[in-house]
Symmetry: C2
Subunit: 245 residues, 2 copies
DNA sequence: CGGATTCTTGACCGGGATCAATACTTGTGG
DNA sequence: CCACAAGTATTGATCCCGGTCAAGAATCCG
């Protein structure tokens, strides 16, 4: 029996105005009516168990998703068998935008832990955009954020050494946990070293070595997946060593 | 005196329905009225001379642009002095989307040759989106295309060797020239080796060597910036060598 | 022309990949 | 509850791709 399917809860109507995460995915200053509209297009929340797929490359675009709880990784696989993790997604972050262009998804979203997402039929979202300029505008901002984020990732892959990439990665995670109300110095990596490596264009051994090096330098403490950033400034300075020319 | 400024032609009203490039940036099946609307938000075409900037990182977002003629490179520069070319843009491609999220641009767009762009005040574009669901939807598709494209670039930087990246780059250029009605086997590189290198996360010497290697293999002929793809299949097979495991 | 920019090629070096062995963690079924 | 298997992480040894430094050639442009 498939837990994933059982775990869908289509009969619990979502209420965006009561959602703790609303500041992450919705703009400020929405009217009550607009909140109701938003809740209406989130047709249901879906629970996905660790390792299961939210959507696959090739699947027709039916929904956009917003992570409500947990975390998800997005990756692409080519005909030639290349695999590339293109991002890790936490609460409030949107998934599935890639599918709009072709009408089908080009990447695959996999739950890194038991998670929960808000499911929005894309048709309904488009209709709502037509009704509410505030939402319409907000959606464009979310899309733009995605692009800005990818630019940053390209910068990492294109111009940083392995340790610089890993430092940037840890700092980025740290910041995202902080904006979600968690500790910015202690958190749990939900993904494997291989996932991090793929995301950063490195091999898992290199990730492992770099983590060990950071530990030796007293920048972090790490036990399995539990990370403690002991010296955030030191981590940041790794990115700035570049400057000294 | 600044040629760039002189070259603006605000008094020639654009007519999208008569534009040769319209299939590249507009959806099919627009009504006459919608064409007029589009033309109205393209307040003017702007000519930019080689080397001049369309916008700078930090500039407030006022316009989105579509390349009409010529080509443009987009790049980001960090505090630490890192520089990363994030893309090359040809006719029909949109520029400036990155600025929507923060309200200011995060990358810089530089003309690689004397070029011409359609200038659309972002406010007007938003207003038009509110009026025309077809345009609204199309804008989201264009944004999504940008994201899909960046995913592909991440794949290149994250999982390809230098020759693979260059082969992918040349094939991508080839395809884009073809869809614009130019030869897919002979074209001129508008950017320097250093630009290509930055885009692909490699040094210019590596680009030069890889081009020489392709020439030795009989895959291409290259004289300065003029490229002739002699053996497209061969180039493609470089990407697929990966497969054989 | 002549100077600046761009490109090519060579020699050498080093960072990260690869291969390999081992340890640790997690989960499953007897 | 333990045993075993599968997945995950660490660390070492070695190799090679692409970076770096450097010299020279070609091209562009005023």
């Amino acid at each position: 029996m498939n837990l994933t399917e059982l775990n869908e809860t289509p009969f619990l109507p979502p209420d965006c105005s009561a959602c703790k995460q609303k500041t992450l995915c919705l703009p400020e200053g929405l009217s009550n009516e607009e909140f109701v509209n938003c809740s209406n297009i989130v047709t249901f929340n879906k629970k996905i168990s660790k390792g299961s797929r939210l959507f696959h490359a090739g699947d027709p675009l039916r929904f956009l998703y917003i992570v409500k709880l947990g975390s998800v990784k997005s990756s692409i696989v080519t005909d030639e068998g290349r695999e590339q993790v293109i991002g890790f997604n936490m609460s409030g972050e949107m998934l599935g935008i890639d599918g709009i262009y072709h009408g089908f998804h080009t990447c695959t979203a996999t739950a890194l832990e038991d998670s929960e997402v808000c499911v929005m039929p894309y048709e309904d979202l488009e209709a709502l955009c037509g009704q509410s300029p505030a939402i319409d505008s907000h959606v464009r901002r979310l899309f733009s954020r995605e692009i800005v984020l990818q630019h940053h990732n390209l910068l990492m892959l294109g111009s940083m050494s392995s340790t610089e990439r890993l430092a940037a990665f840890l700092l980025s995670l740290s910041k995202r946990f902080e904006t979600r109300g968690f500790s910015r110095t202690e958190f749990v990596l939900r993904m494997t070293r291989a996932d991090i490596g793929s995301f950063l264009g490195l091999k898992l051994e290199t990730i492992s070595r770099a983590l060990s090096k950071f530990t030796e330098l007293g920048l972090i403490e790490i036990h399995q997946k539990h990370v403690h950033i002991v010296n955030p400034k030191g981590l940041r300075s790794i990115l700035q060593e570049h400057k000294r020319i």
